[in-house]
């Protein structure tokens, strides 16, 4: 189980970046969602391998909104609760595409190292 750190250390930055990617991808796939919806969806997608501290989601949402990747609007949830809904913007989609490309390149490279067979292995 992973605990998401909320300080500004460099490892957290990586995870924050990853979390931002997950948020963008989720919004891209599911359409407008409120904060809780996003958190739940991320947990479901990871098949509960990831348990996120929901509070850490909000700074990420704020950052994405400040960057213009997502936009927010108050609305009403499926069970009639007032909630803020986030949706991905045009610029967010572009950003997501380039991030995903980078991410798959990075995982590919890492995967090659993982597959490396040494003489001792």
């Amino acid at each position: 189980m992973l605990i998401w750190e909320t300080n500004m250390s460099s490892t957290a930055e990586v995870w924050q970046g990853t979390l931002a990617l997950m948020v963008l991808k989720t919004l891209n796939a599911m359409g407008p969602q409120h904060g809780y919806g996003i958190a739940r969806r991320i947990e479901q997608t990871s098949e509960n391998l990831l348990s996120i501290n929901h509070g850490t989601l909000y700074p990420v949402l704020l950052k994405l909104e400040q960057e213009g990747s997502i936009a927010s609007q108050w609305g009403v949830s499926e069970n009639n609760r007032r909630a803020k809904f986030y949706r991905i913007t045009k610029s967010g989609e572009k950003h997501l595409a380039s991030e995903l490309k980078q991410w798959s390149q990075a995982t590919e490279i890492v995967a090659r190292f993982v597959a490396l067979k040494g003489s001792k292995a």
Binding site: T6, H54, G55, T56, Y58, P59, L62, E67, A83
Partner: protein, 882 residues
């Protein structure tokens, strides 16, 4: 990159609280937890338990909020905003202090900005000429004159031939052109110039061309180049004007070109090195009169400009010119020494204003410094009462930097508000200044609030804020909080450090004020003495107007003489006119028309005396009340004989040993003998210099093309209008500039001095007022702070007079020390501005003792009020206060 910028922008907005309020976030988090709980409730968990689980799952609400807040804005900016809000609160709580501070800073910064705009435009901004560092005015130097004089055209032609360092030399003859373009005929200042003048200055016409070499021959010279200014004001910027013919002096001239408006020539009106700031607006080719180019020495009537070859130095060029100059006196049979001087073009135009302007800039800077010191002092006092608060803050963990910043922020807020108001004030002051018609300051029309000036004001504002705030901030943050917490209670007298610091600041203020007051006193006395100097004539109730006769009619001497005769007869007959006369150059406008006089049979060079030549009408001496010391003035019956009147000094030169030489003969400017019929009192050519030797000839002997009419009237307000009507009736086409009084003419000649004096007196008075406030503030504050100590002293038996003396002694000590230092500083400053003083020594004891007396008196007064309060303190209530 774009995304990062966007984020920074949004965070800035976040810092300014324009977006995403805290309430919004709280609502969102609430909704989140509710939604989470709803899911559990649906699965059958009891609501209270569901909510609990949801909260756990969400994690720390407050830490999430805090992290969110840090992300939303810039935390450092937020604390800055907090500091500003804190300072604003402090200012609001104490509006009196803030008003005084902002107002004094606004005046200080405004005055500095205004003066700097003038310094910037007049002294710092380069002239628009390309390669202006290679362009020089050349003037000749004769030992008889205190300043250099204009040049002889033959001499100038020889320099151009024999000096390898000179690329070009051009002569300029000042000229007036009568322009008839409908309405009143106008007399416009211009110049007769050679074809190479424009290329020498590097100016290209915006339309048409400049002159050709062959246009410098008589008959081919009916062409003109106009300035863009005139082209716009009188010809509606008509591009078809080039090639057309216009009427100047009732003659046809073909316009061949238009030169840009920025082009200006230094226009030296007289022999003095004073370049008047008039821009020439009409140029025609320079054609020399007969014999002009064969006459050595004398005829020093031209302005000359030289352009050095690239790489040549001014010293080289001057040495070469002086070699050529050395030959002329010998060839002319004179033994005087002839030299030349090169004046950088910027120096010629703006040089005479330099000393005065730097003095003003220094003074106004001193005023601002005094204002800053005073504010620092006031802030120090306020800080002292905030020491306890600061100590508590420090004890609670506020950093020293944050505390420092807090105090600095307050003074910066004050200085910025003051700065903005100050720039507005400067704008208004400059409008007044540029609109002033009486001030004769070079390049005045170029004065404006340009980006340089605004940058200067900004830096000045920041500097002011730091100057005011740094010392108090340092005091506040470098005290032991524990000690402050003890001594902050009002029962203890403040430590020595704080008192000493404030006293030192007061000493500095008093010293600066003393120096300013002394300079102001010296300049005021100078101007008063200058105006009261025996000018040799009586300027009261005299009107004067410039008569310029141009056109075909007046090309003939006889017609000019007839007009002058008619005008004089008519004006003399006007009711209320005591007497009227004409003269070729008014006193106070400098030495002009220099030619030698000598005794018949004289062969020795030293027997030739260069004097000012004036052509006058018989009534001139009466109109100006110039006493005739011997013999008599001209009469109409002298028309058929050659006569002259000499000034006393000129007569002494010719006949040093003869008590009354009236009736003797000498050789006049035209190398022919005249009879001396009278000796007139000496008249000054400029107010500040001794009267030069002068010879007066009757105007019919050589009828001038222009002259000043002077009219002595019985005090009559309508005299000017009547005079104008009388002149118009004689010649409706005569250009008539405004009729002035002789007092105005004299006043104009001292306008720059008056400007300097008025400003520096203003600055000195402002400095004095601020210093008084400073002394009062500090003494009064220390009395309040020491109430308890005073109470104890009284209880122990101190007499009221002793308490009074105690406070006075402590209050006056820095005043006396500062005064002594200020007198010392003023001594050196006065040496530096010696050139601006007239008839007064830099260490004038009267001025210094007067200033000392004033400062001591106001110092005592400022201390007396708080000292009296201390002496009348009621011991019981003083001790009971805590």
């Amino acid at each position: 990159m774009k995304r990062t910028l966007r984020r920074v922008w949004n965070r800035l907005l976040g810092s300014l609280r324009l977006r995403n309020s805290d309430v919004d976030l709280a609502d969102e988090i609430d909704a989140h937890i509710q939604l989470m709980a709803d899911d559990d409730i649906r699965r059958g968990v009891p609501p209270a338990e569901a909510l609990r689980r949801a909260r756990i799952q969400f994690g720390g609400v407050d830490s999430a909020k805090e992290f969110y807040r840090d992300q939303r804005g810039f935390p450092s900016l937020d604390s800055l905003a907090q500091d500003i809000r804190y300072s604003l609160r402090g200012i609001r709580k104490n509006p009196g202090f803030a008003a005084v501070a902002i107002l004094s800073l606004a005046i200080g910064i405004g005055a500095n900005t205004a003066i700097f705009s003038v310094v910037n435009a007049v002294l710092l901004q380069p002239l628009p000429f390309p390669n202006q560092d290679r362009i020089f005015a050349v003037r000749e130097v004769l030992p008889r004159f205190t300043s250099s004089i204009p040049v002889n055209p033959l001499h100038a032609h020889e320099w151009a031939k024999h000096c390898p360092s000179l690329e070009q030399v051009a002569l300029i003859r000042n000229a007036r052109y009568q322009l008839n373009s409908g309405g009143e005929p106008e007399s416009i200042i211009g110049g007769q110039v050679p074809h190479n003048l424009f290329s020498l200055y590097g100016v290209k016409p915006i339309l048409g061309r400049t002159f050709l070499p062959e246009e410098e021959q008589p008959g081919k010279n009916r062409v003109v180049v106009l300035s863009e200014t005139l082209w716009r004001s009188h010809f509606r910027a008509d591009p078809g004007l080039v090639g057309r013919t216009i009427q100047l002096n009732e003659q046809n001239f073909q316009v061949v070109g238009i030169i840009p408006a920025w082009f200006r020539l230094p226009f030296s009106a007289g022999i003095v090195e004073q370049a008047v700031t008039v821009r020439m607006r009409i140029f025609s080719p320079l054609v020399f009169g007969q014999g002009e180019l064969s006459r050595l020495m004398g005829n020093f009537n031209y302005n000359a400009a030289a352009r050095l070859k690239p790489g040549a130095t001014a010293e080289q060029a001057l040495a070469e010119i002086n070699v050529v100059q050395a030959r002329f006196p010998q060839q002319a049979g004179s033994s005087t020494e002839l030299k030349a001087t090169l004046i950088p073009i910027h120096e010629l135009i703006a040089g005479r204003a330099r000393l005065g302007l730097w003095m003003l800039a220094g003074s106004v800077g001193a005023v601002l410094l005094i204002v800053c010191i005073n504010l620092a002092n006031l802030l120090l006092s306020r800080i002292a009462s905030r020491r306890q608060e600061a100590a508590i803050r420090t004890a609670l963990g506020a950093s020293r930097g944050r505390q420092f910043r807090l105090v600095l922020m307050e003074s910066l807020l004050l200085s910025f508000t003051g700065g903005v108001l100050g720039v507005l004030l400067a704008r208004w002051l400059l409008q007044l200044l540029v609109a002033s018609t009486t001030l004769d300051l070079p390049r005045l029309e170029e004065v404006r609030l340009d980006p340089y000036v605004l940058a200067f004001s900004f830096c000045l504002t920041v500097l002011t804020g730091f100057l005011c705030g740094a010392l108090p901030a340092w005091r506040l943050t470098h005290t032991n909080p524990q000690e402050s917490l003890h001594s902050g209670s009002r029962t203890a007298t403040e430590g020595h450090g704080g008192v000493r610091l404030r006293q030192a600041l007061i000493g500095l203020e008093v010293g600066l004020s003393a120096a300013l007051l002394i300079l102001a006193g010296l300049l005021t006395t100078s101007l008063t003495r200058l105006l009261e100097v025996d000018k040799g004539f009586d300027m009261h109730r005299v009107l004067t107007v410039d008569l310029r006769l141009a056109g075909n009619l007046y090309a003939q001497e006889v017609n000019r003489q007839r007009l002058f005769d008619r005008i004089l007869a008519k004006v003399n007959a006007m009711p209320g006119v005591h007497s009227a006369g004409i003269i070729t150059a008014l006193p106070t406008q400098g030495e002009t028309w220099l030619d030698p006089i000598y005794l018949e049979g004289n062969t020795r060079p030293e027997g030739r005396h260069t004097v000012n030549n004036r052509f006058v009408s018989p009534g001139y001496f009466r109109a100006m009340n110039i006493p005739i010391r011997a013999g008599q003035a001209f009469e109409d019956r002298d028309r058929d004989r050659r006569v002259a009147v000499l000034s006393q000094k000129a007569a002494k030169r010719l006949w040093p040993d003869v008590p009354n030489p009236v009736g003797r003969r000498f050789i006049a400017e035209d190398n022919k003998p005249v009879v001396l019929i009278g000796i007139a009192a000496d008249v000054r050519a400029t107010l500040q210099d001794e009267a030069p030797p002068t010879v007066y000839y009757p105007y019919w002997q050589r009828v001038p093309g222009s002259a000043y009419l002077v009219v002595r009237t019985a005090a009559n307000a309508n005299a000017a209008a009547a005079l104008r009507a009388a002149l118009r009736s004689e010649d409706a086409q005569l250009p008539l500039p405004p009729i002035r009084t002789m007092e105005e003419v004299v006043e104009r000649s001292v306008s720059e001095r008056r400007f300097q004096m008025t400003l520096i007196v203003g600055f000195a008075v402002a400095a004095l007022l601020v210093a008084i406030l400073g002394i009062y503030g500090v003494v009064s504050y220390s009395v309040t702070r020491r109430r308890n100590e005073i109470g104890i002293r009284m209880a122990l038996g101190a007499q009221r007079s002793q308490l009074l003396a105690l406070v006075m002694r402590q209050g006056m000590a820095p005043v006396v020390l500062g005064l002594a230092a200020g007198i010392g500083v003023a001594y050196f400053l006065a040496q530096a501005i010696r050139g601006l003083l007239f008839d007064i020594q830099p260490a004038d004891p009267t001025t210094i003792s007067l200033v000392a007396a004033i400062l001591l008196a106001v110092g005592i007064l400022a201390c007396l009020i708080p000292a009296h309060r201390a002496a009348t303190t009621d011991a019981i209530s003083a001790l009971r206060i805590d």
